[in-house]
């Protein structure tokens, strides 16, 4: 059995603990059960709608990776079927892989988890700088702003999305600075690209 947490960035983080430990109402999880060829899309009651959509898309991608014999079963929190209850307290390794997979699912790690994203976004930037992107591992996440007018009031929505088609080569511009975040293991887990304003 494999358990993945769906991040709002569209990435999946592999969970190595019991399912019952991570069933949180704000989460969307994908649970792959090899023995019954089932991928459960579990949606927490208070998980954002955007995450539910992303989860549905990721579920189909996982199905594409695992094999078309797998079926994706959406489950809303509180409406779990009996067979789902059976696996809640099993360790992910307890339902082993049947060996029918042709390839591993490509899960990029490290990724911009919701926890890391909140940490970065909640730390105020130095005056005179605006955040343009975040590098986590080998991935670049762009910050996109969309503006809309609602009854004359400007509503700004900020989203962070992974960019997959960066131009190859060396990128250098003197109008940019950077801020580094180092985790508790002494490793760089994020580099924010800051534009001078």
């Amino acid at each position: 059995m494999e358990i993945y947490n769906v991040e709002t960035s569209g990435e999946l983080t592999k969970i190595t603990t019991k399912l019952s430990n991570v069933l949180s109402t704000d989460k969307v999880l994908l649970i792959v059960r090899e023995d019954t060829k089932t991928i459960y899309l579990w949606k927490g009651l208070h998980s954002p709608v955007s995450k539910k959509f992303i989860g549905a898309r990721c579920g189909q991608q996982l199905r594409g990776e695992k094999g078309l014999l797998f079926k994706v079963i959406p489950i809303d929190e509180g409406e779990e079927p009996p067979e789902f209850e059976e696996i809640k307290d099993l360790e992910p390794s307890e339902l082993s892989t049947s060996g029918v997979f042709k390839k591993e699912v490509s899960i990029s790690t490290p990724s911009l988890t919701d926890e890391l994203k909140n940490l970065l976004l909640n730390e105020p930037l130095a005056e005179g700088f605006t955040r343009e992107g975040i590098i986590v591992g080998n991935d670049y996440y762009a910050i996109t702003e969309s503006k809309a007018n609602v009854l004359g009031k400007e509503v700004i929505n900020q989203e962070i999305q992974r960019v997959d088609d960066l131009p190859d080569g060396l990128l250098f511009d003197t109008n940019y600075g950077l801020r580094i975040h180092v985790n508790s293991n002494g490793k760089v887990d994020a580099v924010e690209l800051l534009k001078k304003i």
Partner: protein, 84 residues
């Protein structure tokens, strides 16, 4: 693998900047200056070494600019450049 990437930064940094380090996520490689004196003559050798035990938290200074190396659409390394 890391050495292959570091070798791509053998050329001098852009004019007006000095290289202080290179991030090959999640590792930080610091440029270390080794000074030796032979009969009053100073010789400076620069080497790049992986830095361990970086202080946890945010690190920021307005005097630094990044130069990013991208290959196959992915970020391979981030060079940390300091204004001279």
């Amino acid at each position: 693998m890391a050495q292959e990437i570091l070798d791509k930064f053998k050329e001098d940094p852009p004019e007006g900047y000095i290289r202080e380090g290179i991030i090959i996520p999640p590792d930080y490689y610091a440029v270390i200056e080794k000074k030796t004196t032979i009969m009053g003559k100073e010789s400076v050798k620069r080497e790049i070494e992986k830095a361990e035990n970086l202080p946890q938290g945010f690190i920021f200074s307005p005097d630094y600019t990044p130069r990013i190396l991208i290959e196959n659409g992915k970020v391979v390394a981030i060079e940390i450049l300091k204004k001279k």
